[in-house]
Amino acid sequence: MQALSVVGPGTGPLLDPLAARLDGRVATVRRDESAAPDTAAGPADAAFDLSPDGGWRASGTDDSFDALLDRLAPEYDYALVAGFSRLRLPTVVVGDREVAGDVLERVDDAAELDADALAARLDDAEPHVTLETLVDRVTASPEADRAGAIATFTGRVRAKDSPDDDRTTHLAFEKYEGVAADRMARIERELTDREGVLEVEMAHRVGIVPDGEDIVFVVVLAGHRREAFRAVEDGIDRLKAEVPIFKKETTTDEEFWVHDRA
């Protein structure tokens, strides 16, 4: 899923024209100051209204923005978000507001933004991928009838290696675009060539990843569990050894490139 955040005066009305220009399933998320979300679902934590033709509306109180984005990721090709400045997403800003995500474009007036140009740039932005996105992708395989196993690995940011360590607050990853994708594709291809391994999907996040959050996923669809486990282990080992991705660690005390301490 490609996600885009727009922030600043006059950006809310951009979502619909932008959605109309995108090819695929699009979700829009708007900040709603008027609703009283703590009562919208009544006594339940979430309420879903589903019409006979499949139309639906949901309300609830128990979703963080990150959880919502993860929930949308396997189902939608695009998420367009307006009105939240603290998201670590590719962001278009009107005005001088500071934002947490990478700034794709900054203008003084929303009228300067061109929906066609934004739609084209959105496809180049880093996609938001979750474990479930990859599991859905491998189970859609034409060979899924022969698969008796899905094995997955999730790498996440470890706050501490031993109990009295300084806490790691976040990691920052950078990637050699193009070459990293080629090398990951090669690893996926070579693992898929093994007997009994049907599909392999890997994804690695870039930018800032806070402690406790996911960094990397390896997902294998295989005939049987043993080849699935082996391919997952070899996949993550090879990714760590061969793919040009670099991490800088920030603890409560210091900041350092991880390869300098290896």
Partner: protein, 91 residues
């Protein structure tokens, strides 16, 4: 010559993408000399005491590791993309 640098090497050179004037360079080694002349702070990080490229430093020409081709003698063209980076540390 276009160079891409990563991690601490980009910090030492003050940029991730550099254009270095190396018109006369026929090999990766000559292109590297031109890069290090233009950005001397990089030299200490990528060369050992004998002036050789440190073994853990990766040098790629158009995505291909020069350790797997002819090393610093690998020929270069003016429109090649060269990349220099430390040991990878993903995951």
């Amino acid at each position: 010559m276009r160079w891409k640098l990563f991690a601490d090497l980009a910090e030492a050179a003050g940029g991730r993408e550099l254009a270095v004037d190396a018109d006369g360079a026929d090999t990766v080694g000559e292109a590297l000399d031109a890069l290090l002349d233009a950005h001397p702070a990089l030299a200490a990080r990528v060369l050992d005491e004998e002036g050789e490229l440190r073994p853990h430093v990766n040098l790629l020409r158009n995505g291909e590791d020069v350790h797997e081709t002819e090393g610093l003698a690998t020929p270069v063209d003016a429109d090649d993309e060269l990349a220099l980076f430390p040991p990878v540390s993903g995951g």
